[in-house]
Each structure stands twice: as structure tokens, then as C-alpha cells.
């Protein structure tokens, strides 16, 4: 398998063409019918009909949006806001979390707000960037106003942000290396790809 075929489906080129190239790269003479069956199997519409409900009120959503961007900011690639992490979390909490788990996350948000009020007498979103960052760092380190359960809650929230980001198109294919059809397995030097894989 040569290097060209590492991720033919990643670039958004026509899927049928991609499959044909793959088959050629593997030295296989597939019939036109097999090719079209293969290509058909790779065109699935996005199903968003399953997620009409949301879990966050507008204030909570705005907070989650900003927290996501602080945790995973825009650098040389877009950050959490561009990747729509807040929208992802809004649905995920509504559908995939138990009531208890959802309350834990909402409590985490409330805790962040309440410490912002105590420290700076204003809403977290109205705080200076350095104030926001230092508050979150304290929370993760369980220091000052925060204890071990705050740290735990923040860790859970952060993992949810990471899930939303690294499974988004931006997170998976711009920030990390995305190869839906690798073509084979081989050891490489890290420098050949220069970043971690999105799919493991």
C-alpha cells in the first residue's frame, strides 16, 4: 500500500472515485456492480432527527460555550466554539446522561458562577480572561475555594468538552489526523504525520 492511499476518503472527493482508487491500489479488479455497491455503502445521511431536545438554558449554554473555548481555544486550528462543542453538550446532556449525571454538570456550572461572584462580584462571562483562567485552574487543582469534589466535577466537564471537540469535523480532521480508511497498518515515525490520530 503506497502512501497516497492512506486516507482517500478524507478529502471529500467523490466517494465512488475513492473506492475505485482503493480497489486499484489493492490490485483488485472489481466489477462495476461491486464498485457501486461499495460506494453506496459509504453514503449515509446525517441523522439529527434524534436530537431535538436540549438541556441548557441560554445562560448556561453561553457559559458552556465560553468554558469550552477556554479549555480548547482557537490556536493554529479552530477551537471549541467553531467546532460547536456547546451545541453538542446541550444535546448530549439531554439524551445520553442520567438525571444525576446531568445535575452534576449543571452544579459544576453553578459552582463556577458562584465562585466568580464571590471573587470578582460579577458573572463568570463578565470576568477578565486571566480571572476566568485562574478560576478554572484553581478548580482543577482543588485549591483556594475549591475541593476535591469540585476538581472531580470539572474533570468530568472537561472530558465532555474533549469528546465534543475531538469527534467534531474540526477536531478530528483539522486538529488531529483523520484517516477513515487507512488502507493498512504499518509502523511509522511520529514526524511522518506530526500529530495524533483522531480515530484509534
Amino acid at each position: 500500500m503506497n502512501k497516497q492511499t492512506v486516507s482517500p476518503l478524507a478529502s471529500g472527493i467523490d466517494r465512488r472515485t475513492a473506492i475505485k482508487q482503493l480497489a486499484l491500489a489493492c490490485g483488485l479488479a472489481l466489477s462495476a456492480r461491486s464498485l457501486s455497491l461499495l460506494a453506496d455503502s459509504f453514503s449515509i445521511p446525517t441523522d439529527v432527527s434524534r436530537r431535538s431536545q436540549t438541556a441548557l438554558n441560554p445562560q448556561q449554554l453561553a457559559l458552556v460555550r465560553q468554558l469550552g473555548e477556554i479549555i480548547i481555544p482557537t490556536t493554529d486550528t479552530p477551537g471549541a466554539i467553531a467546532a460547536g462543542v456547546h451545541d453538542f453538550i446541550n444535546h448530549q446532556l439531554a439524551y445520553c446522561y442520567s438525571e444525576d449525571e446531568r445535575i452534576q454538570i449543571l452544579d459544576c456550572l453553578a459552582r463556577i458562577q458562584s465562585v466568580a461572584q464571590t471573587r470578582h462580584e460579577r458573572d463568570f462571562l463578565a470576568c477578565e480572561a486571566e480571572q476566568q483562567i485562574s478560576l478554572l485552574r484553581d478548580m482543577e487543582a482543588a485549591r483556594n475555594e475549591f475541593d476535591a469534589s469540585d476538581r472531580q466535577a470539572f474533570k468530568q466537564f472537561k472530558a465532555l468538552v474533549a469528546l465534543g471537540y475531538y469527534t467534531s469535523e474540526i477536531g478530528a480532521s483539522q486538529e488531529l489526523a483523520y484517516a477513515p480508511v487507512p488502507g493498512g497498518y504499518r509502523p511509522i515515525k511520529f514526524s511522518e504525520i506530526g500529530k495524533a490520530w483522531a480515530l484509534n
Partner: protein, 575 residues
């Protein structure tokens, strides 16, 4: 694909009826059709067409409404058992049985996880594809220590059948000359990564009785003409097999045995046909067919055949047999021995150790290898050197921490993002796969009152680990940790999971076992019922012991051999 081979009602007397279309049912159908028998394949679930019905395949993570996760209410209500399986997610869930519709019963304090794939292709779509031969260490085991009945066959009886099925399936692996793990002719093995090469060297230098080899798996690393003729393509190393594979790169009913059987023109298929029982004629002492319940209409109908092969999965087959009562067999067909439903086994998983390998930050890999490494059994091989009977193998692999692992690290902001982008440290683990003893007390029976929505009596499953099993799991963890320590790993984490009930390894076996004596076994050495000569059972139910290797390859070899024998006997007029 035309659909003329799908049937509903039929008065035809088929040469053979095969119940179940998973790994063994697919093989039975192929073998019997290729030998010229008009064969009816009866499947309880829906039709799943190769490629067309792999609806989760190729869907990008961000195209899934919950990025692969599933609504909690759906999991709680419909998949509370199935979700325990590692491959269960939004892109595969349609290949798992719905727990709400397929209830079973266990005692309060003895959980058993029954993972099922009720559709055309069965669990052949979901299996882990590891393919290992057994050796006489395994076929002698019951005779040597007296647990279970002696296997009525030995390695030499299966050797050529292993070769026969492996040639067709396509097994990737390496020739190793390890006595307890006989070799075959393999397709090229997958590659070791840099760290695995180093660790293999260290382990094999340190332990002369242990080898770390590339896992042998049913993947086409280099398809032969027999594979491409069926439209099967080289493995693309996606490692998302359980979504279905349009490349046909791993062996499944859909990719391999079904197209081969259809080519003969001898195959008919009835889907959504839940077998209620085997029809038995006491005048001729023959099975004459099966009674089925239509999964959609609940109507009952019958299919007739000269041979009946039960390949409905270990517990599925046993349920049908227990439910096939007659004057001659009041406790289930072919159960004059009384052992039907007993001696349930599963492999001992959920114990081992992991650790961190320092360095090698400039090494990586491309692709997602669909197999790991394998350390074949080394305890109780040449002499008894453990405080338990039988033994275990280790699975393992080395990889770098993923974004999922790294997301739990402390930190926020650009630095956190960079940590994840840079890939994490290397880790390596050894995870046991051990042999569970066959014991009479581990059993399934029909629940006296509970039924499913089709009126089938529910299975009551009573199974727990023995002292020997527990000792072995402890030893897996201890030994794995000891090996990792001796080869210089750091931060070693040793585990014995108590949330790994029997069944979850999905290698349930033994409830209609083979044996030499009709008084203590259900089947003879050809998977033929001692009591009913035209009734064969070739799935996991037939196993007299469970060994420590993944069983599917052995099921395939047994099935092909049983088909050969059955057709010979049929032609001789003996059945």
C-alpha cells in the same frame, strides 16, 4: 442480488435444514449446498444484506447524532445487557439483540451476560475474528484431569479440517512452531509496531517458555483467488469491523459462506423464522423438520428436511432442544443422558495488567490494526506448575495514549490542546483468556412459567466461576504484572474485574456436549446426536471443554467435518 431464494411457507422436503446463520450455520449451509443437498437455512432474525444493510459503516463521528453514544433511555430499556459488550455503539447496535424483546432469567446473585446477534449472519458480523487451532493439550485435558468427559476426537481428526476451513476463510498470521498452537498456511501477518518489537525481544529473552506473536485473525491481508472470487477485498485496517465491512475483508457469513452457498443454487433462506422445536418422529427415530414461529406475525409453520443441523448458537440451540419434547424425549430431544443444558462454560476474561513504556516518542503507527498480540499458554504445559488446573493465554498490544486518555490530564488552553495533539505515552497490557472447567452445576433450563413475546419459554441460566476459575483469574493478573515489571514497564496497574460475569466473553459453550458414551453426552465425535442419527449440533453447544483459545475456528472445522460425515451417511442410507 435477487431474492428468489428467500422463502416463506413451504411444503418441500429439503435434503437438509440448518438452524441459524452465524459462523457455524453459514458453514453448514455452504458445505451441504456444495455437496449437492437442497438446503434450507432458517434464521430467527431479519435479513441483513452484505454492504447494503451496514448502515453504521463509514458514518463519520460528527455525522452521528451523539457521536457514537446512544440515548440513555434506549440503552436502559432495550440494551442493558448488550451494552456491556466492547463493540456496542450507535453504529453497531442494530446487530445486537434487543434485551427487551429477548428476555432471559438468572438467579439474583448469579449474573450471566448473554450477548446475542439475532439476524442473518448472526454474530459472524460481530465476532473478534481471532483464529487459533487447538492442540492435543486441549483435546486430552478432560481425560487427564477428570473434569468433563473425554473428547471423542483428537487433533489428528481435525487437522485437515482446520486447513480446509482456513484456506477458505483466509487467516492472517505467522508460522511459529509452538506445540500448543499448531501452525497453518497463513496470509501475511500484521506488523508489530516499534515498541511491540522491543517488548517481544525483552519477553522472549527473559522467559524461554513464552512467545509474543502477532494475533492470528480472519482478515484478508493478501486475498487469494478464492477470496476475490466472492468479492472480498484486502483489509483496510479500519478496525470498525462490527459495523459491517463492505470490503468483505473479515470473514462473516455475508462476506464468505453465504455467497459461496448461493452460488450452488441449492440454498433457500427463511428469515424472521424463530425455531420453536425440532419435529421428531418416534416411528423412524428421526428428526423430520422444525416448527417455527413467524417473528412478525406470530403464526406457526413447519419446515421439513432429511437432515437437521442446529447451529443457532450455544444457548439458542440448547433452548430449541430443551423445548423439543416428545414421549420419547420428555426433557428435550436427544437428551437420554440428561446432560443437555449442563456443563455451560465461557472463557475467563477480565484479568491482567497494563503499564507505561517510557520513551519512543518518535515512534507511531498508521492504521488501526484489527488484531493484537498473543502469548500462547505457558502454564501447566509440560508439567503442572500452577495451583490451578488448565491454563490461559494473554492478549496484548502497545499503543500510544489517545485523545480520550489524554483528555483526563490536568491542564487547559493551548498547552492542553498541544498535549493531546502530540499523542501520549506508550502503554502495553497483557489480558488473560483462560479455560473454565466444565461443571454440571453450570446449566441452563427452560423457565417453568416465563415466556418471551413469541411464546417461547425463557432460558433460566445458572452459571458461576468455580474456585479453580477464580484462582486462574488471580494468577492472570499476578503473572501479567510480573512480566510487565520484569521488562521494565512503569506505573503497572493490575486488575481482576468483578464486573465480568460469565457470558460476557461471548464464548459460551458445552450445553450439548460431545462424548464417547451416550449415557454422559449428547453428541458423538461427529457432532451427531447419539439418540437421533439425523440430528447434528455443530455450534459451541457441542464442545466438551472450552480450552483457552478463541473457539470459532474450531467450530468451523467441526462443522465442515460433520457435514462431510452426514452426507456420507445419508448417501449410504444410514440416516
Amino acid at each position: 442480488m435477487t431474492n428468489t431464494f428467500y422463502i416463506g411457507k413451504s411444503q418441500e422436503v429439503y435434503d437438509a435444514i440448518v438452524v441459524g446463520s452465524g459462523i457455524t450455520g453459514g458453514w453448514a449451509a455452504k458445505e451441504l449446498c456444495e455437496k449437492g443437498l437442497k438446503t434450507l437455512l432458517v434464521e430467527r432474525g431479519r435479513k441483513v444484506e452484505h454492504r447494503k444493510d451496514y448502515i453504521g459503516e463509514g458514518v463519520k463521528p460528527w455525522e452521528m447524532p451523539f457521536r457514537g453514544q446512544i440515548e440513555k433511555s434506549v440503552v436502559d430499556e432495550q440494551y442493558h445487557i448488550q451494552q456491556q459488550n466492547y463493540a456496542f455503539n450507535d453504529a453497531t447496535k442494530h446487530f445486537y439483540a434487543n434485551d427487551r424483546d429477548f428476555p432471559y432469567h438468572t438467579p439474583e446473585n448469579k449474573p450471566f451476560s448473554w450477548i446475542r446477534g439475532n439476524q442473518l449472519g448472526g454474530k459472524s458480523l460481530l465476532w473478534h475474528r481471532q483464529s487459533y487451532r487447538w492442540s492435543d493439550l486441549d483435546f486430552n485435558a478432560n481425560m487427564v484431569d477428570g473434569h468433563g468427559v473425554d473428547w471423542p476426537l483428537r487433533y489428528k481428526d481435525l487437522e485437515n479440517w482446520y486447513s480446509y476451513v482456513e484456506e477458505f476463510v483466509g487467516i492472517s498470521g505467522s508460522v511459529e512452531n509452538i506445540p500448543v498452537l499448531p501452525d497453518s498456511k497463513y496470509l501475511p501477518p500484521f506488523e508489530f509496531n516499534a515498541v511491540e518489537k522491543v517488548l517481544k525481544g525483552r519477553i522472549e529473552k527473559k522467559y524461554r517458555d513464552r512467545k509474543l506473536i502477532m494475533g492470528r485473525c480472519a482478515h484478508l491481508t493478501k486475498p487469494g483467488p478464492q477470496h476475490t472470487a466472492l468479492g472480498r477485498v484486502q483489509c483496510m485496517a479500519r478496525n470498525e469491523c462490527q459495523k459491517g465491512c463492505s470490503f468483505g475483508a473479515y470473514f462473516s457469513t455475508q462476506s464468505a459462506t453465504l455467497p459461496a452457498a448461493l452460488k450452488t443454487g441449492n440454498l433457500s433462506i427463511a428469515t424472521n423464522a424463530i425455531v420453536h422445536s425440532v419435529i421428531y418422529d418416534d416411528k423412524t427415530n428421526r428428526a423430520t423438520g422444525v416448527r417455527v414461529i413467524d417473528a412478525e406475525t406470530l403464526e406457526t409453520r413447519e419446515y421439513f428436511g432429511k437432515l437437521v443441523f442446529l447451529c443457532a448458537s450455544t444457548l439458542g440451540t440448547t433452548q430449541v432442544m430443551l423445548n423439543s419434547v416428545s414421549e420419547a424425549f420428555p426433557t428435550g430431544i436427544a437428551n437420554s443422558s440428561g446432560v443437555l443444558g449442563h456443563y455451560l462454560m465461557d472463557h475467563l476474561y477480565g484479568a491482567g495488567a497494563t503499564g507505561i513504556v517510557e520513551g519512543y516518542e518518535d515512534e507511531y503507527y498508521s492504521g488501526r490494526r484489527p488484531t493484537g498480540l498473543y502469548m500462547p499458554r505457558f502454564k501447566n504445559v509440560l508439567r503442572k506448575d500452577a495451583d490451578f488446573l488448565r491454563g490461559y493465554a494473554f492478549f496484548g498490544s502497545a499503543q500510544r495514549e489517545t485523545w480520550g486518555d489524554l483528555s483526563h490530564r490536568d491542564g487547559i488552553g493551548a498547552e492542553y490542546k498541544e498535549t493531546i495533539r502530540s499523542a501520549g505515552r506508550w502503554n502495553f497490557g497483557l489480558h488473560g483468556s483462560g479455560e473454565m472447567l466444565p461443571r454440571f452445576e453450570n446449566k441452563v433450563s427452560l423457565h417453568p412459567t416465563l415466556k418471551d413475546k413469541w411464546g417461547m419459554p425463557q432460558l433460566h441460566i445458572e452459571c458461576e466461576y468455580s474456585e479453580n476459575d477464580k484462582k486462574m483469574r488471580e494468577d492472570m493478573a499476578e503473572t501479567a504484572a510480573e512480566i510487565l515489571e520484569s521488562i521494565g514497564l512503569k506505573e503497572i496497574y493490575k486488575y481482576v474485574r468483578d464486573d465480568w460475569p460469565p457470558g460476557l466473553s461471548i464464548h459460551e459453550m458445552g450445553t450439548a456436549r460431545m462424548g464417547r458414551d451416550p449415557k454422559t453426552s449428547v453428541l458423538n465425535g461427529y457432532n451427531q446426536a447419539h439418540d437421533v442419527p439425523n440430528l447434528f449440533v455443530t455450534d459451541g453447544a457441542s464442545m466438551s471443554s472450552c480450552a483457552w483459545q478463541n473457539p470459532s475456528l474450531t467450530y468451523m472445522a467441526l462443522t465442515a467435518r460433520a457435514c462431510d460425515y452426514a452426507v456420507q451417511q445419508l448417501k449410504l442410507g444410514k440416516i
